[in-house]
């Protein structure tokens, strides 16, 4: 049984809500039913087969080919199965995902992995602001799972992160880890201003010393036993984080944000 494949035929001028095309909603549906699914695009509803050439039948493995940055809500609330995006993804990629895996070969837009509950999201390119963050007005961002970004992340990565891990091989923008409640964010590249702004708990693991605000207190340099264990869980990933040369346990610890609860930490790799 080959993967259920949606190959984009036309690039609509308006954004497209892809949320109906997730594994659990397509499972057991006839090809004609799938073709008839209506996708909201601007103020219009488009049939799936108007936008995509549809082939294959395995709804647990979905491939979206020729994807571009206006395809929003890909893998929204995905609850098992996998979605492979060939190309870019729009905003709200993997929003509220409960289980499964989503991989994107290109870039992703705003709010990728926002309020994700579990599962695995991999973005080969760059991603927009609020990676793994919370929607406006809500209190908790990502609550579990793993996000791997091989490029750069925008601002507010991990905003209100509650649990789970965000790995960024490239750089992260301003306010990385803002309002973090718990969880782990690791950034191999540079970070912008206001790292850990108003974070309550959680760990920001950085390869480079960031410009720190005055509300983070230097706790000195330490060898932390949990770090090799954390790195060990990255070993199966196709990522720089899985490289044994990336493993370290010697860090400088900054506690904060003291303007908030102050139980969070920024750990900076030490030689």
């Amino acid at each position: 049984m080959s993967a259920l494949t949606f190959t984009l035929k036309i690039r609509p001028a308006q954004r497209v809500d892809m949320s109906p095309l997730v594994c659990q909603q397509l499972q057991g549906k006839d090809p004609s039913d799938i073709a008839a699914i209506e996708l909201q695009s601007g103020n219009r509803k488009l049939r799936a087969d108007e936008l995509f050439a549809i082939s294959g039948s395995d709804a647990q493995h979905i491939i979206i080919k020729n994807s571009f940055d206006k395809l929003d809500f890909i893998g929204k609330e995905l609850n098992g199965g996998s979605i492979t995006v060939e190309g870019d993804a729009g905003a709200y990629l993997a929003m509220g995902m409960a289980a499964g895996a989503i991989t994107v070969s290109g870039n992703a837009g705003l709010y990728a992995g926002c309020e994700m509950k579990k599962g695995y999201l991999e973005i080969a390119g760059n991603t927009g602001d609020f990676l793994g963050g919370t929607l406006p007005g809500n209190k908790m961002g990502m609550k579990g799972g793993l996000i791997l970004v091989k490029g750069n992340a925008g601002e507010r990565a991990g905003d209100c992160l509650r649990r789970g891990t965000i790995l960024i091989e490239g750089n992260a923008g301003d306010y990385c880890g803002s309002r973090m409640i718990a969880g782990t964010i690791a950034v191999m590249g540079q970070t912008g201003r206001y790292v850990g702004y108003a974070m309550r708990r959680g760990t920001l693991l950085l390869w480079h010393t960031p410009p720190l605000s005055a509300s983070f207190n230097d706790c000195g340099t330490h060898t932390l036993a949990f770090l090799p264990m954390l790195f060990k869980t990255f070993a199966p990933l196709h990522s720089k984080f899985a490289d044994s040369s990336a493993v370290f346990n010697r860090t400088r610890r900054y506690a904060g944000d003291m303007a908030e609860m102050g139980r969070g930490e920024i750990l900076v790799k030490q030689p």
Partner: protein
């Protein structure tokens, strides 16, 4: 049955259902992991007065431990889950948390979880940090030598306690040498511990006593100095009896441990003064697990 001149009695050891858990202690080096493990499993020879039976199962190489440091696996057995949880927590708090450079991890997983660091975390006085790594929850408790890393819970499993055999020898040194050989062999078997000092008990007990309030007393039938004044189970040439008690995660584990232990004893044989191997039981009415010596050695 006679093996190398040693008579294997046609009797059986009687054992009981228990609850057990395994914890893995790691430290900066094996010496300190062993120190913590010895402290944690101290005063844990018998549930009669210790609350639990515990022992070091084996040492672990850095590749076998969660944090890549040298480690020790300990097994703890108790009569019930509640008692097991209490003993585990007390011993983890007083013996492992306090031991320099130590970390403590679950060594067994099951549907029934008992607290390991879940409550110890409060020692951190609010500075403790939870970290979910690979789906498991750990606590990082700040302590004076750095951080005490402890897994939140470990698993509780059904187990068997009280497997045993007796070594009957012509002299005390010969009985001891045979037991030492048995323990050396049995320590290579996974999933079992021999909870008594050095794995050997010289004061085997019977149920009850002439004194009110004592529910166990010396096993006079096997005391060589009482041969002439009690219903002895010893022949004239027996001068010393020692017992090896085994707790295991399953009946099969105890079977195997008893087999290699008795084989080691018989390896020394009659030439080394070993005359008989017997076992302790209560008539088969108390414990559901029976370890028939001749069946095990067949």
């Amino acid at each position: 049955m006679i093996i190398n001149g040693v008579t294997i009695d046609a009797t059986f050891a009687e054992a009981f259902p228990m609850k057990a858990t395994r914890a893995i202690i790691t430290a900066h080096n094996e010496q300190w992991a062993l120190i913590a493990a010895q402290a944690m499993t101290g005063f844990a020879t018998s549930v009669i007065a210790c609350g639990c039976e515990a022992g070091i199962e084996r040492t672990l190489s850095p590749e076998q431990t969660p944090d890549g440091r040298p480690g020790v696996a300990v097994l703890i057995f108790a009569m019930g889950g509640k008692g097991l949880a209490k003993q585990l927590e007390t011993r983890a708090g007083q013996c492992v948390l306090t031991s320099p450079t130590s970390a403590l991890f679950a060594g067994i997983y099951s549907d029934i979880k008992i607290p390991l660091g879940k409550n110890l975390r409060y020692f951190g006085d609010g500075f403790q940090i939870a970290k979910v790594i690979g789906g498991k929850r750990y606590w990082r408790i700040p302590v004076m030598d750095g951080e005490f890393l402890v897994e939140a819970t470990t698993g509780q499993v059904d187990a068997v306690g009280g497997g045993n055999f007796l070594v009957l020898a012509e002299s005390q040194p010969q009985a001891l040498a045979a037991c030492e050989a048995a323990i050396d062999a049995m320590r290579k078997i996974p999933n079992v511990i021999m909870p008594f000092p050095g794995g050997v008990v010289r004061s085997g007990s019977k149920v009850g006593s002439k004194y009110k309030g004592l529910n166990a007393s010396t096993n006079d039938a096997f005391c060589p100095t009482l041969k002439g004044m009690t219903a002895t189970d010893l022949s004239p040439e027996i001068e010393s009896v020692m017992e090896i008690v085994i707790d295991g995660l399953s009946k099969e584990d105890i079977d195997q441990a008893m087999r290699v232990g008795i084989q080691a004893v018989c390896g020394l044989g009659a030439a080394a003064g070993i005359k008989r191997v017997s076992a302790g039981n209560y008539g088969g009415k108390l414990g559901p697990f029976h370890f028939h010596l001749q069946e095990i050695m067949a």
